[in-house]
Subunit: 314 residues, 2 copies
Amino acid sequence: MLFDSLPRRVTVYEVGPRDGLQNEARQVPTGDKIAFIDALSETGLEHIEITSFVSPKWIPQLADAAEVATRVTRRPGVGYSALVPNKRGLDRALEVGMGEIAVFLSASETHNKKNVNKTIADTLDAFTQVIEPALAAGVKVRAYVSTVFGCPYEGEVDPAVALHLCKTLRQMGVYQVSLGDTVGVANPAQVERVLDLVLAEVPIAEVAVHFHDTQGTALANCLAALACGVTTIDAAVGGLGGCPYAPGASGNLATEDLVAMLHSMGLETGIDLEKLIECSRLAESFVGHDLPSKYLKAHLGKRARSRRRAEKGA
Amino acid sequence: MLFDSLPRRVTVYEVGPRDGLQNEARQVPTGDKIAFIDALSETGLEHIEITSFVSPKWIPQLADAAEVATRVTRRPGVGYSALVPNKRGLDRALEVGMGEIAVFLSASETHNKKNVNKTIADTLDAFTQVIEPALAAGVKVRAYVSTVFGCPYEGEVDPAVALHLCKTLRQMGVYQVSLGDTVGVANPAQVERVLDLVLAEVPIAEVAVHFHDTQGTALANCLAALACGVTTIDAAVGGLGGCPYAPGASGNLATEDLVAMLHSMGLETGIDLEKLIECSRLAESFVGHDLPSKYLKAHLGKRARSRRRAEKGA
């Protein structure tokens, strides 16, 4: 029995306000972002990545990082984190009292070079300038490893790189490494191969997965990860960050698609799915287009049909 | 290791020309249907359901069933089937030399009643008038059981009904029963529960699964079915039959999404994915809208980007 071995409780790590909004074409007003994050804080989510302290020249969408971080209502029991690319970013994050930051690099040299203009080894070296002062300030550090399951430039990526990075990052004091399928090419068999390798040497609580639904396989990949024992999964509410109508649209796994599947399987998340849907509707209102979440579409369609029936009956 | 137990080869049962087109708003010209089915015959698919011999009053989209069945090029090695609701439909199917037919009923009384205006028991009784003469004429008979994983009227459906129907139908001479998630509410844990029950008493080759991707869970459900040993999966090229832009759009699992995932996992299907994509593009041209397949979108986007790069380079 496959499902007897699944974890009973899954932690969902919400990345929509950062990973989602940084990929949206429209600049979202700061007030809308704050209202959005505050609504997410009321859903039962325990981890929300709210912004990124990167240079506004790189990602103008998140130039208001400090204001967002200062003005959101920090609900007890919810961890708020922000992406930090370097020491300058860390300083800005510390100034506004972030309790958690995340660093990032790629599992493929070419992608890492194109993304941060450094080799993987030099990126790890540079992390010490961020991670050590962060830990010294009592700030938790998470890490994203992208292109673990495939690189747009190099194609296949050796799973041994993911293992090496996980081990190195945890030695540096990172509490959890999120293994990312940046281009949405992972498949469930590969997920099992990578995780079997990694989890043989890294404790399960220190590994998360981050799938993109570019080819519709994100939930199947989550299922494979759960079957390997993984208990933390990243997602972005509504599937924020991917435009549903663009050909070749890539995008984050939608949080409600994940939570709906987990709940229907009897796995607990502590999240209120109805409240999550309202967060997606709020996001749709300020990004200016429908979000790609399939559960959202199905749910809103069902709701509209009930309303029409009720009106007919009245 | 979960994936060590998967079947090495998976049979994909294409239902797009029937289950897909009958749910499209636009009436597709007969010549387009024939060209579409002929193109599907060249992809390596071994099973194609091409039409339905239902009354044109019920499904006007498939009123040209006899003409389609007569004019398609029957490629050796490919099985062509058609849906048949009653003796009159069987007679029409036999007249045009169909080698395989499919009968259908629901696992929930209310859905069955609304669909065919009979109880499940009366539907099974009536099947004898179709199945016996079909078998006597050397025609293979498949069966669809819909709402196995949930009914829009009754909610949850007892898995024992699926087992009972599988056993009864095979006693009647049906060679394979396709268990359908008509409203797209199945989850992987439930798929395992239902299949464990059914496969304890029914040989694997006699059971297929038919998932809808309404909530984005179709591939995860396929993965669960594969882990249970299932080797035949229904799908509709492009995800035909579901409108991607309608709120609450339900739709068949897209054949290319399934085949792409299976191939990436190293499982064989005998299907040429590039040719399958061309079939989807053909279908898009005559249904008049984009099809919901995520693999299709990702593939076309990638192709467009390569073309732009090549043009820039030239």
